[in-house]
């Protein structure tokens, strides 16, 4: 990943004011699409896209900007979904607190997993996160409160701040949109902060970052916790949207799916994961109506992405625009 991302950073360095204007326009267009979408498309579908887009953006913060491939992000996504669902259903907490509790749980879990996983690099990092997430899966299967194979069903959406009734689709939609925008803005800020610069330095050349005096382990751990919390935020929101937390959310296939969304859209680009998530969710809901086996199609896209366009859709587009300009 290093060679290509290196090229991308040099592109980013050459950013001019013209680029900034274009980016602002793009953001405004994206926001307009987000605001108008529920009037054109089925709101639950768009909410699903937004949840997974946030999940993929959180994952991308690690792989795209710190160069860490986590294969266990389902644990944070699904774990938070269970906690949020339990808090809303059994404890009767309001939605905003339930989601916050879910994200907080993922942050703590991320701290524990991250502290273990950053002891190894590269492929080992991927295997360790995968194994730890599998542990969470088995716990979810065996613990009483998760409801085993049934999951937690019929989670009440409740009243946001005691004012807004989330059972109305449009209200719920704008709540989800607001959460997504918050997460996206946080990632945007992180990536463009000095902290983000250090992360990129670690991704490009960790020994050099160490020799410059950065305690890279702390940076990596903080990035891991941040990514886990945001994945939890997405998972908790998803539990309220579908009023369901189930084993599907913590399975390793879910970890694979978020990798695919990010890879397809473009690792290390800000908009890539959003595009990838939208495509994968659309594809899956399309495939559900056909007789084609979903995993085979998903696997085939994986193989094609890895072999033919590793920069992903947005990454290739950026590279194309940069080529045309020079």
């Amino acid at each position: 990943m290093t060679a290509e991302t290196h090229k991308m950073t040099t592109v980013a360095v050459r950013q001019t004011s013209e680029d900034t204007t274009r980016r602002t326009l793009l953001l405004a267009a994206g926001l307009a699409v987000g605001l108008a979408a529920p009037f054109v498309l089925y709101p639950v579908f768009v909410m699903k896209v937004l949840c997974f887009a946030l999940f993929a953006c959180a994952f991308n913060l690690l792989i795209g900007f710190a160069g860490l491939l986590s294969f266990g992000h389902a644990a944070f996504f699904g774990g938070a979904a269970y906690i949020t669902a339990h808090a809303a259903k059994v404890w009767g907490l309001p939605p905003e607190l339930s989601i916050l509790l879910g994200a907080g749980f993922s942050a703590v879990l991320g701290l524990a997993f991250g502290a273990l996983a950053i002891r190894r690099q590269g492929i080992y990092f991927a295997m360790i996160t995968l194994a730890l997430a599998q542990m969470v899966f088995f716990l979810a299967l065996q613990l009483k409160f998760t409801g085993g194979e049934d999951g937690i069903q019929g989670v009440p959406r409740g009243q946001l701040f005691g004012l807004f009734d989330l059972n109305q689709p449009l209200v719920m939609y704008y709540f989800v949109l607001a959460i997504f925008l918050f997460g996206f803005a946080l990632i945007w800020r992180t990536v463009h902060s000095p902290f983000g610069q250090v992360l990129k330095a670690i991704r490009e050349n960790e020994p050099r970052a160490i020799s410059l005096g950065y305690r890279t382990e702390r940076y990596k751990l903080l990035a891991f916790v941040l990514s886990a919390s945001l994945a939890g935020l997405a998972g908790g929101t998803k539990a309220l949207v579908f009023q369901l937390a189930s084993l599907t959310d913590v399975q390793w296939q879910m970890s694979g799916e978020v990798v695919l969304m990010t890879l397809l859209g473009g690792m290390g680009t800000l908009f890539g994961p959003v595009v990838g998530a939208a495509l994968v969710v659309t594809l899956e809901s399309y495939l559900a109506g056909t007789n084609l086996p979903v995993p085979v199609v998903i696997g085939a896209i994986f193989v094609v992405c890895v072999l033919l366009f590793r920069r992903g859709i947005v990454g290739e587009l950026q590279a194309f625009l940069a080529r045309r300009k020079s």
């Binding site: 080992y124 194994a131 599998q134 696997g299 193989v303």
Partner: protein, 295 residues
């Protein structure tokens, strides 16, 4: 009847035997992963799927061609090995110059394709595969009853594991292999065809997975999902043992299988996660793994 630690000996030894059998599969699979990783620097995510394919080839041979277990023991690893050679030649070999993570992602995609295709065809329920006649029955060892087939699985996998260890550590071909792992360019300069060696190594590694699949077929049912959860445990085994040594992979695999069996006796709720807990502890104490060195 006497008891050991409050547990009847039949239960204890029965679970230990089950653990030893699981451990044999862990050992065979992690050995294959270690051999492949040493040469290709690729973690083969498709290993579990290829193990499943090995079992299905045995099932096909029996039900479509009428060829029994002993033929399957020969033909299934060969078939899986051939699949591996094709995968390596057409797909994996394009990725060697890139970050190693792409190899992981590619084989992950392949695992999804293989498992999805078999699941589409056969559903999630397992197909039974009979124990071969020669290995039916069992021995009464006094303290426990040992089914012949289970004894055979443990013996066969230990023989194969140590055969592999001997071939890599003690023969000329193995010496080439180890040399090419250390420095492929130099070995190539000495006139040894390294690309062919890489292809054959991958083929051999996945053939081991295929063999494990045939051995597993009569014990577990032949099902499309039999490899997908196993492979994650094997990853943990590999992290615990460290991939530096062949012997380490074998010992760790068998040891963790036994530990899992013991956990089933004394604290069954934790038997699914004990390997992962051990992994976490090992990472805290010795991050490179029990037998590994930092690379």
């Amino acid at each position: 009847m006497f008891e050991l630690l409050g547990v009847p000996p039949q239960v204890l030894f029965g679970q230990l035997l089950l653990g030893l059998i699981n451990g044999s599969f862990y050992a065979l699979l992690s050995l294959g992963l270690a051999v492949i990783f040493g040469m290709l620097n690729v973690i083969n995510f498709a290993h579990g799927a290829l193990y499943m394919i090995g079992a299905f080839v045995a099932w096909f041979l029996l039900n479509k061609l009428g060829l029994g277990y002993w033929w399957a023991l020969l033909l299934a690893p060969a078939t899986v090995g051939l699949v591996g050679v094709i995968v390596e030649k057409t797909l994996l070999s394009r990725l060697y110059k890139l970050d190693h993570l792409y190899g992981l992602l590619l084989t992950f995609g392949l695992a999804l394709i293989f498992e999805g295709a078999f699941r589409h065809q056969f559903g999630v329920s397992g197909q039974p595969y009979p124990i071969p006649d020669a290995l039916k029955g069992g021995q009464n060892l006094g303290f426990m009853f040992l089914p012949n087939y289970r004894g055979w699985v443990v013996a066969a996998s230990i023989v194969v594991c140590f055969g592999t260890w001997f071939a890599i550590e003690r023969t000329r071909l193995g010496a080439y292999l180890r040399a090419a792992t250390e420095n492929p360019v130099l070995v190539q300069a000495f006139g040894i065809n390294v690309p062919v060696m890489i292809t054959l190594t991958y083929g051999f590694g996945v053939a081991l997975a295929g063999l494990a699949g045939v051995l597993a077929a009569p014990i577990y049912q032949v099902s499309p999902l039999m490899g997908s959860n196993l492979i994650i445990v094997v990853f943990a085994v590999v992290v615990i043992g460290g991939m530096g040594s062949i012997l380490g992979a074998i010992v760790t695999g068998l040891g963790l299988g036994l530990l899992e069996g013991l956990t089933k006796v004394f604290y069954p709720e934790a038997s699914n996660i004990v390997v992962f807990v051990v992994m976490a502890i090992v990472l805290l104490i010795k991050p490179a793994g029990l037998f590994g060195r930092e690379r």
